[in-house]
């Protein structure tokens, strides 16, 4: 059984998940080290599916479980998801991601504040050291980490948000259209980072509105149509034509 195996390896198991009333249930397993793509025309359920994995939307049925070596944990809400090791990078960074009045450092650290404390108080040097690690890893271009995040380019803001999610050291990383509004050079940096994370054993789920991006990154793609998985495509069958046909509900 695929999902059983995923649990043993520490993957994410989705069982009979219903994302909209009346839609047929989805059963999937996302294994560590795998990059799974989500595609579909806008509003056909792929975003809803991703948000349910993140615990941000309640499912209409079924369950989501994150396996680990000791015990598996059911994802019942966003906080539970974060605590279990699922990180989510939101889509619209201006509305849901950045804190425009706060510095780059503060924006980076907000999800993992307690990791920098010494006797209950924050140690700025510990935070800076942690930030520097991710700045290097993601090659963030930010001359001054104490400047407001709005002084950075869109791509670098996105990298800071990715650093924030990675700082949680998640087992599963959910990316909601991560390269939207990001320049081409930065995109390729991000692609390399995603591949590196996967080869280090992280499971990645990427929703993208660009098919080329999915073809470039993913081994396996779930194509959504009318809140159901219309097709699961992998290996040699994974081509622009096959994904587009599935998106429009035509037989590939």
């Amino acid at each position: 059984m695929a999902d059983r195996a995923a649990l043993d390896f520490g993957g994410l198991a989705v069982r009979d998940l219903v994302i909209a009333p009346g839609a047929s249930p989805i059963t999937q397993a996302i294994a560590p080290g795998e990059i799974v793509g989500l595609a579909g025309l806008d509003g056909h359920g792929q975003e809803l599916f991703l948000k349910m994995l993140a615990g941000l939307e309640p499912p209409h049925g079924g369950s989501i479980e994150l396996g680990s070596s000791d015990a598996s944990r059911k994802i019942t809400g966003f906080r539970k998801a974060v605590a279990s090791g699922i990180a989510y990078l939101p889509r619209d960074r201006r509305a849901n991601g950045i804190f425009p009045t706060q510095s780059v450092l503060d924006n980076f650290a907000v999800s993992t504040l307690s990791r920098d404390t010494r006797l209950g108080l924050i140690s700025p040097s510990a935070r800076k050291a942690r930030y520097d690690f991710y700045r290097e890893k993601l090659s963030i271009v930010a001359p001054r980490p104490d400047a407001p995040i709005t002084t950075l380019s869109g791509g670098n803001q996105q990298k800071v948000l990715l650093a924030r999610a990675l700082a949680l050291e998640p087992a599963i990383l959910l990316l909601n259209d991560p390269t939207r509004g990001v320049d081409v050079a930065t995109r390729h940096v991000l692609y390399d980072v995603f591949r590196g994370l996967a080869s280090d054993g992280m499971g990645l789920v990427i929703l993208s509105s660009e098919i080329e991006e999915i073809l470039l990154l993913c081994q396996r793609v779930l194509v959504f149509r009318e809140n159901e998985v219309a097709a699961e495509i992998s290996g040699d069958a994974l081509t622009t034509d096959s994904v587009i046909s599935a998106m429009f509900g035509r037989a590939a």
Partner: protein, 316 residues
Amino acid sequence: MNPVARLLSLGRNFGFAVVLLVVLLAINLILSPGRFQPGSWGALVGLAAPLIGAAIASTPVILAGRGGIDISVGPLMGFVNALTIQVLFLGTGISSPPVLVPAALLVGALVGAANGFLATIVRIQPIVATLGTYLILTGVTLTILPAPIGPAPAWLKALSGPLSMLPLAAMFIVWWLVRRTPYYDQLMAVGSDDRAAYTAGVDVTRVRFIAYIMTGILGGCAGLMLTALIGSADPNIGPTYTLIAIAAVALGGVSLAGGRGGVAGAAIGAIDIFLLQSVLTTFNVSTFVLQIAYGAILVLAVMLTALQERLAMGRR
């Protein structure tokens, strides 16, 4: 850096409150040098302390954003004032600081928790929730203390004279510690954008609830400062601090939309208002004109801050 740019960069942190502070201080020193002798600093600070305290107390909930405001800070000060003098000091004869101070802070914390419960858990709009508390506290204060009564314990009166820096210093130290806790970053994140804060894993409701409790505790402390200054209990003075404290906070560059500014700015805004009052009273101006001046300065300062921000945005 040319002088204009320097002025603008100062303004970025505290609005134009700092510039105003320097100008008003200079005018005060020229007009009434005697009042600003080092020997009278204690009394001077004591005179300004309740307003500074009220402004500092109003700050945390405003920083927490989404319309967060506590207009019950003034009545809370009056309630603490009445409670410590009428009930505790005169009623039961307790006068020791280790009892009265924690009692005042506890009352503040409880009122803050009630406001926080209404505004963040029941989710009544903060201005309406705290308006309710405003009216309740004003009424309760008048019930337990229909008319002014005195005196206050001697140690408390000393806190508006030679030792007037003590409660203010305590407030600043507490805030300085809060600034270094993870909570502060969460507070600013929530104030800056609560949806983003939620997506980043911050417990938005908890952060806002704690902000109301902090406002309550600081408000309790401001109530003690008020008691120290008037050296008695008066049911009518407390509520007058609410609006002027919010004016001070806005003047000090704290955005009422949340996530921007801090306690230092609020304190500077309060000192501005105090100094303005001081200048106008040396000219024997009536209190009505004083009100007009507060309003005009407030609108002007907020406009200049907004203008400066727009210029800064335009340059980018």
